[in-house]
Amino acid sequence: MRTDDLIKALDADAGSKAMPLQSAWWMAAGAAAVIAAVVFLLTIGPRPDFMAAAHTMRFLSKFVFTIVLAVSAFALIRDLSTPGASTRRAMAWMAAAPVLVAVAAVLELFMVPEALWGTRMVGSNMMICMTFIPLIGIGPLAIFLWMLRYGAPTRPVLAGAVAGLLAGGLSATFYAAHCFDDSPLFVATWYTIAIAVLALLGALGGRFFVRW
């Protein structure tokens, strides 16, 4: 087939419409949040003393970390799924959540006696954390990988990993409402591992599933 002939076919198909990618991302984010919320509420749900805990700095700081991660990953994945879009600024913002966690962890080390560091880090919930962050995040991750297929990521593996970080940030935001371990030391260790699992799954999905 000559290229001019191909152009005739493409032109004849000019009327076919698809939702703009940027709007589709917002819908996907909404759907993913709903799925994560449903899974969360049907399984573990918020901790009973949620209202009381909401007055403590440590409890609230968890949401700052996870929401900052989710928001920065959302901005980056939208750029990564758009060919030719500059990703430099969004990439730099990805450092925000890790930096916040690191700062909080260092503060915690100053505020808590050394004898308690181990207990704070190991916490009481690490297996639940490592199970439920990936579990709540797997549905959102599937949606985000599907969105990457709908988009056109020129770096699919990286985009897939960021899809995992986005799913992880979203999932951890819900999980944080359940978890009794509020120490930044716990968050820096177990949340990171659980979210890294989702990022790894996302990278694999990007490698094998996101083709265009």
Partner: protein, 178 residues
């Protein structure tokens, strides 16, 4: 020159998205020439037919046109897709290539030349369902309109449009999967 090109192409693309078919045809012809110039400069050794990459890029641009932000420049978007498809073509043939994005500024538009080689797109076309294949061939190779194609196969224009759209999407998907 490049700035003028950018403004004109963005305008055509916006008109095309708004439903102006003539603008879209104009846009695609210009893009084909630009991408051809880009790809030919990049393929110095044999192994990859530049025109195959041009066609794969055009198809990708078509099926992914919803990824362009209308307030963003269109040329970086086009070259990012062309570059991705070029690397993909080399990858499929087991070669590695490094492409410098800055080179796009020096690209010149080039016309298509006749070749006798079998096109990748023909093989992809063979993979379609018979109905999709005959509709895509009628509209492209035979140059028939949607109406003429509908009359010829005794189906509705809507059915022709659906087959054409699905056929093109299937070809694009096949290129991505290989």
């Amino acid at each position: 020159m490049s700035g003028k090109n950018e403004a004109e192409l963005s305008r055509l693309m916006r008109a095309a998205i708004a439903g102006d078919e003539r603008a879209y045809a104009d846009f695609l012809h210009r893009i084909a020439a630009l991408v051809r110039g880009f790809v030919r400069r990049k393929i110095v050794q044999g192994g990859v037919d530049p025109e195959d990459v041009v066609q794969e890029t055009l198809l990708a641009i078509h099926v992914k046109r919803h990824t362009w932000r209308q307030d963003a420049p269109v040329l970086p978007w086009i070259y990012a897709i062309a570059r991705f498809k070029l690397i993909d073509a080399f990858r499929r043939r087991g070669r590695r290539i490094e492409i410098d994005i800055d080179d796009i500024a020096e690209t010149f538009a080039e016309p298509e030349t006749e070749t006798v080689s079998e096109r990748d797109i023909n093989r992809a076309l063979d993979g379609l369902s018979p109905a999709q294949r005959s509709v895509v061939s009628a509209v492209s190779v035979e140059g028939r309109s949607i109406g003429e194609t509908a009359a010829r196969f005794g189906i509705s224009e809507t059915a022709v449009r659906v087959s054409l759209h699905r056929g093109l999407a299937a070809i694009a998907k096949r290129f991505g999967r290989e």
